[in-house]
Symmetry: D2
Subunit: 134 residues, 4 copies
């Protein structure tokens, strides 16, 4: 298992007239969570794409427990529970500054070869870096 | 069961550098789907809120089967399968102009009294209008 | 001069906690305005890109006169005042359903060759179609 | 004059299929710039709203010099050139990690009393904190 923390500050434009973070904007928080989780391992999603592999999302699941509010400093805990194969799952728990759990979600992504659009294995370096955690 | 169709045109700003609709933007398509589903019944979500009831999202689930692309004219089929109680579930199927199923999802929402933030029953008119379908 | 009308319905996710459309979301309305203005002439921005020309934005200017609100059915009037060269300017006026002018803006875009990233002339068909208006 | 620096990392969902940051997303970067500029002075926009004053945007102007790209670590330099009255102008310059100027913009905002929707003076504390800079 690999777990990582990162933080986002809720932007005004991410709220809606209910005064909550709009439910569609959590997907962006998840993205920050997983990209920073990889960066903390020395892996760059940008470089992965530059090297010809992209990671489209296959599934996304979200539970909204309590609303995130404007200017909240959110902690995103991102976890990879299982060793990635042609697919990788990221789990997220989002907490506010008081340590309250606001939100849980998980996303399933594929590794896809940009040239032919076909599913592929993760790059070797990606697997090497993650190996110690599984 | 109540089912309804509506259409959205994919905006440039909804795509990402993969050339696909960004996965977080489907939540907005779902919102259009359910709001127009209600409007076709003569129900206005705006009026519901003005009358003191809001409908925050509790859960959201998405399966990305095929990418939606820039300028695609998407058909969103929105279905309410079960009679709403204090919660209501909307299911969505999204098709491109060739009739290909690109995406499936569903969202669970609560009815909440704006004054006290507590779960509540849907307004009577809401129930009356939906009644014939269940 | 060429002028065109199109309509957008304000989405919940486009509002912010002020209860107004977030100021950054007008750019998307402008995009809808200019893409539909071109489509009404038989021109497709998507095809333009497929044919190797893209139109990045160089400048954007907005005046927020009155707030657009959730569920407003906005009329976007898009105008091309001057014959396009290597650049093209679109002007926008946005009205609510009561005919009140809410917003004015304009955007300057370039024609750019996707292959070399250099400014280029608009495609011949683009110029032919617009010619009668100037 | 008061000037301040803050940083944002470009998110995947902020790019479009051109591979650039979508032009509408700079408004969100400006928002981060001005909110963090105020926070560095000990002023919280959230508290300002809680205290009954909101700051809707009246005008927004943007020049796109070079595209911001996915994963760019952008420096936003936010400047208040003139002493605020019932309106306040923020100027922004956005640089990439190589120090290249990518973008310039400015935004004019009003101070508005939330109770009656009328323009008002900035709160005293706001003026006190900014006073030394003008």
């Amino acid at each position: 298992m690999y777990t990582s923390e990162t933080f986002v500050r809720v932007r005004y434009g991410e709220t809606d007239q209910m005064g909550y973070v709009y439910y569609g904007n959590y997907a962006m928080f998840y993205e920050v969570g997983r990209v920073e989780a990889l960066r903390q391992l020395g892996l760059s999603y940008k470089e992965l794409e530059d090297d010809g592999v992209m990671m489209p999302v296959l599934e996304n699941h979200s539970k909204f427990l309590l609303p995130a509010l404007y200017d909240d400093h959110l902690k995103i805990v991102t976890t990879i529970r299982d060793k990635p194969g042609v697919r990788i799952q990221f789990n997220y728990s989002i907490f506010n500054a008081d340590g309250k759990l606001l939100h849980e979600g998980h996303t399933l992504l594929a590794f896809v070869d940009k040239k032919n659009g076909r599913p592929c294995r993760p790059p070797q370096r990606f697997m090497d870096v993650l190996k110690p955690y599984f």
